[in-house]
């Protein structure tokens, strides 16, 4: 369970290879603006993928995470229509996300239900509520500051003209690094791995497993709210189908990053690298005019190959259990 292993090294090498290969192949791919653009698509996904990876490490899953994004974006929109200033809007979004996560966590820990079923249910429920409240309408007209959050660069924010790193990516990277440090370098993170690899043993050794699970679901809700706020700022509108299907993207990123779906194993650095890899890949294929559905096909294939390879190659990663 090291943060850096063969898998992470391979992902890093793939990223370098990808940038080098496409840099030679596509004109302007390595220009600072293109590089900055290549992070845009992945920033919000990185945030929910980190939260998803934490949950998977703890032996849980949250399929409602993208629906939570839609619902918290809707809460921001409704707050704006009620005349709230930006901080209150953000607060409304975060509170909605936390409540969504709390409901998931409560059902899983207090009612003893499997998280996959609970979150299939809440996926329908949250997305359905967004549909009920919005219908086929969209909320637009978000304040300039929110749009800056989604579209601006760090350079614009602090007044350095050459710094083209998007604010979004800065936030996502900070978020991801904090999660990685927390999971790998604090006792809480280690306990989450323990809960995931053997819940009964973890409970017997005095870890408040349910408290960690509940906390992780709430955290996933808040992460979804953050990602939802950034996405809303970037595209400037709230629709009921905001981020539809992103729960599967988040799971794909987590698993490509080397997180074991059985729980208890996986490095957060790997997840960060996997997100970067997918971001670069998606952007490069987009520049080559490859349709989005083909890109997701390739990603699906990659996911399977990534799972099959360790099983087929001899002498790699002996199975722990």
């Amino acid at each position: 369970m090291r943060a850096l292993g063969t898998w992470e090294a391979m992902l890093a090498a793939l990223i370098l290879l990808l940038y080098a290969g496409f840099g030679f192949g596509i004109d302007g791919f390595l220009s600072p603006y293109a590089l900055a653009d290549s992070t845009v698509n992945v920033s919000e996904r990185l945030i929910i993928a980190m939260a998803m990876a934490m949950l998977i490490c703890a032996g849980e899953i949250d399929l409602s995470i993208a629906a939570t994004m839609a619902l918290s974006s809707l809460a921001m929109g409704l707050a704006m229509q009620a005349g709230a200033p930006l901080p209150v809007m953000l607060l409304a979004g975060v509170a909605t996300g936390a409540i969504c996560g709390l409901l998931n966590g409560w059902l899983v820990t207090q009612r003893g239900l499997p998280s996959i079923v609970v979150t299939i249910g809440t996926l329908s429920l949250y997305r359905g509520l967004a549909l009920v409240l919005l219908g086929d309408q969209a909320i637009t007209g978000y304040p300039e500051a929110l749009s800056l959050l989604g579209n601006g660069t760090l350079g614009e924010l602090i007044g350095v003209p050459g710094l083209v790193v998007p604010i979004e990516f800065g936030i996502a990277l900070l978020f991801a690094v904090s999660v990685a440090v927390w999971m790998h370098c604090t006792v809480h993170g280690r306990r989450i791995y323990a809960v995931g690899s053997n819940p009964v043993a973890a409970r017997f050794s005095g870890i408040a497993a349910d408290r960690y699970r509940l906390g992780l679901f709430v955290f996933a809700g808040i992460a979804a709210a953050l990602a939802g706020a950034l996405l809303t700022g970037r595209i400037g509108s709230t629709r009921p189908n905001l981020a539809a299907g992103w729960e599967l993207d988040a799971i794909t990123i987590a698993l490509l990053g080397g997180v074991a779906i059985q729980g208890g194993r996986g490095s957060m650095v790997g997840v960060l690298l996997a997100a970067m890899l997918l971001g670069a890949f998606t952007f490069a294929l987009g520049m080559l005019n490859v349709p989005g559905i083909v890109i997701s096909t390739i990603l699906g294939g990659l996911l399977i190959v990534a799972m099959v390879l360790p099983k087929v190659l001899p002498g790699r990663r002996p199975r722990a259990g």
Partner: protein, 324 residues
């Protein structure tokens, strides 16, 4: 299994709930109680019933098949393309083609899950993306529109057998066969045993890999069948066909009391789940509730039914600390 009494009451209670909804809606709008509207609900639910029958068998083995909707889209697209190129092909050949292509796609899942020992949720998540993408590539992203759909495929949903629409007949046959297989077939019994206790099932000599392979191939074949019927019903084939429908299929199973943890679930219950979703979807417009409520209601019902399930299961003796 000591839970057979509880299961029976659970299916009965689902029926009571459905009957209550039907009567309440019928009281507000008598048109809902006519045979015509019952046939409409059954016709709408027929495709879902076929998919649910396959998914339920997969869930019994502690697996899940997230790729059914993509399989449906790809097989539907293949049948539409073949039908367009060979308009003289008899419809029976196209139906066999659908079953074959669907089963092959399902077997790919099965091979990866049974032979490579990969988790079903990850494998089918991957193939879900791959199959839909291949459907896109197969048609170069173009739609196969109404005039290009094979006449035989288009005729399927309009055909009636003794006054009953063919879709309902096919769904009835599929559901009956799967129920009989699970009840009386040796392989069917073994599938349930496998989900109840995989370790014990292997010890008593149940061929785990073969059964898993069969189960995913079956789910795939049924998804393929649903695909060609779907194309006929809506007279169009495109790569986004039935996008996201896999969750509706799983929802119907869960509402019907099929356990995601495997081993528990009856075909009658699963069909109750299908009927419930069908009745709710048909009832909402009748009582002038916005159809936007559909999804939220389905979600709330899923949560309610799993909570009820778990409540009944908690009575069985579980280790103090174990949660699931």
């Amino acid at each position: 299994m000591t839970t057979s009494g509880f299961k029976l009451s659970r299916e009965a209670s689902l029926l009571v709930v459905i009957a209550a909804i039907v009567l309440l809606v019928g009281w507000r709008a008598p048109v809902f109680l006519t045979l015509r509207s019952a046939l409409d609900v059954a016709n709408e639910s027929a495709l879902l019933a076929i998919l649910v029958a396959g998914q339920m068998v997969v869930l019994l083995t502690r697996g899940v098949d997230l790729s059914v909707a993509s399989n449906l889209a790809l097989t539907g697209m293949v049948c539409a393309l073949v039908g367009r190129s060979f308009p003289s092909l008899p419809i029976a050949v196209l139906l066999l083609l659908a079953l074959g292509v669907g089963a092959a796609l399902g077997a790919v899942n099965g091979l990866l899950i049974a032979l490579c020992r990969l988790p079903a949720i990850v494998v089918t998540l991957g193939t879900m993306a791959v199959y839909r993408g291949v459907a896109f590539l197969a048609s170069n992203g173009a739609w196969v529109s109404e005039q290009d759909i094979h006449a035989g495929i288009k005729a399927l949903p309009r055909t009636e057998l003794l006054g009953v629409p063919l879709l309902i007949v096919i769904a009835g046959c599929v559901v009956g066969l799967v129920a009989a297989w699970l009840r009386w077939g040796q392989a069917g019994r073994e599938v349930r045993a496998l989900g109840n206790n995989p370790g014990a099932a292997v010890y008593v000599g149940i061929p785990e890999r073969t059964r898993l392979l069969q189960v995913y191939a079956l789910s795939g074949a049924l998804a393929g069948l649903a695909g060609v019927l779907w194309v006929g019903r809506y007279a169009i084939a495109f790569s986004d066909l039935a996008a996201g429908y896999e969750l509706t299929v799983i929802a119907a199973c869960v509402i019907g009391g099929v356990s995601i943890a495997g081993g528990v679930g009856s075909i009658a219950g699963a069909m109750g789940g299908v009927l419930f979703l069908g009745v709710v979807n048909a009832a909402l417009p009748v009582i002038q509730v916005s159809p936007f409520w559909q999804q939220a209601i389905a979600g709330a019902v899923i949560l309610l039914s799993v909570a009820l399930n778990a409540g009944s299961r908690a009575r069985a003796s579980l280790p103090i600390l174990e949660k699931s």
